[in-house]
Point group: C2
Chain length 194, copies 2
DNA sequence: TGTACATCAGTGAACGCGCGTTCACTGATGTAC
DNA sequence: TGTACATCAGTGAACGCGCGTTCACTGATGTAC
């Protein structure tokens, strides 16, 4: 209706728009549902136009995953300020992100995009997203025998939870409860909860 | 060379042979590399022949995942007999399975095969594989506040480790060391290890 | 032990499909003078 | 302020490909008598 809806010859933001379309496709049907042609269709542009912004399908996927890592990083960073229970809050944020953006989350860790070293931005975004996890643990390192091992254990724990929820193997309905119970269970923190 | 190598009109074991071929394809190029036609090609049979044994590509994938869960279950069961450190041994077995059969492992937890309730054998095999994990924890339930939560936490932990290793996000070379360190870290077991 | 015949396990050609990518092109934009 | 022109961002037709699946078929197997 409005002029902004009108399809102009020059889209203006085609690159980002294609990434948004890709995210939608990912969440609708997983990586298998993503195609350059379908993304172009959704944005209202010819398939060829995509090559103005991405060299190949793979590079569109890499760019989309990069955005995903930035978003995950931001979510973790925001959670890390919840002071008394920063770690539990970050775990919850991690699981919530995976559930809210399951297709994207899966792509971020899929071999279609992981193995390649050809996308330095992707690597940087990923490192940055997980930097928070490490830092937050390092900050009270004195409590832990081996901070690196502890950090990896915490990461693996929430990552595993996220995976099991989005794969429908653990009941998604209990995601919040279980995550909270596990990230603040007495085997990790000495004091009694509740 | 031998007669067993000869291609006979009646293959005799086409179904299982197709599953083996599918496993190979999974490990070589992931789910994207699997096709009915390629599996048939590897077995030396026409594409049409596959329909004698599987109703569709999806059902071949489901059957392959079923086999995967049985193998994982067997590996966990074998590990669970290592008495003093059954849990750590099972964790190691879990990670080893994922690394040795990464394509299969990924398929087992992928939405291409997970969501469907139409493969009861698949569901049964999965339940059975993970039954061991629960049982092994239940057996010393007295030590734990909430056995169910503890079991899920242990599962999520090793599952997350496995995923991070096969995705190349944690260095695969350290898989054994890290897994051992984490599954017997003092935050989970009180006593000092080493 | 021999034959007839139903059943089973394959073949091979064909279908329609959507894909990623390339090509030669055209319309829109913005800058130099 | 006006025009020329390089550059940029799209179009649309076409390519070759491998896929899943269907069809009508044929060769092999095994069982009844």
């Amino acid at each position: 209706m409005s002029t902004s809806k009108k399809r102009r010859y020059h889209h203006g933001e085609l690159g980002p728009a294609l990434i948004v379309a890709t995210k939608t496709l990912l969440d609708k049907g997983g990586a298998a549902a993503v195609s350059l042609r379908e993304a172009a269709r959704r944005v209202g542009v010819s398939p060829t136009a995509t090559y103005r912004h991405f060299a190949s399908k793979e590079s569109l996927l890499a760019a989309t995953a990069t955005v995903g890592f930035r978003e995950l990083g931001a979510a973790l960073a925001a959670a890390s300020t919840h002071e008394p229970e920063a770690l539990a809050a970050m775990g919850m944020a991690y699981v919530r992100f995976a559930l809210a953006r399951r297709g994207l989350f899966r792509l971020m860790f899929s071999p279609e995009v992981t193995n390649r070293l050809k996308y330095p931005e992707l690597k940087r975004a990923a490192d940055q997203a997980f930097g928070w996890l490490g830092n937050s643990l390092q900050s009270d390192a004195s409590k832990h025998r081996n901070p690196r091992v502890e950090a990896i254990a915490a990461w693996a724990l929430v990552h595993g939870l996220a995976q099991l929820f989005i794969d429908g193997i653990l009941p998604e309905a209990q995601a919040e409860t279980l995550t909270r119970a596990i990230t603040s269970s007495p085997s990790r923190k000495r004091g009694r909860s509740r």
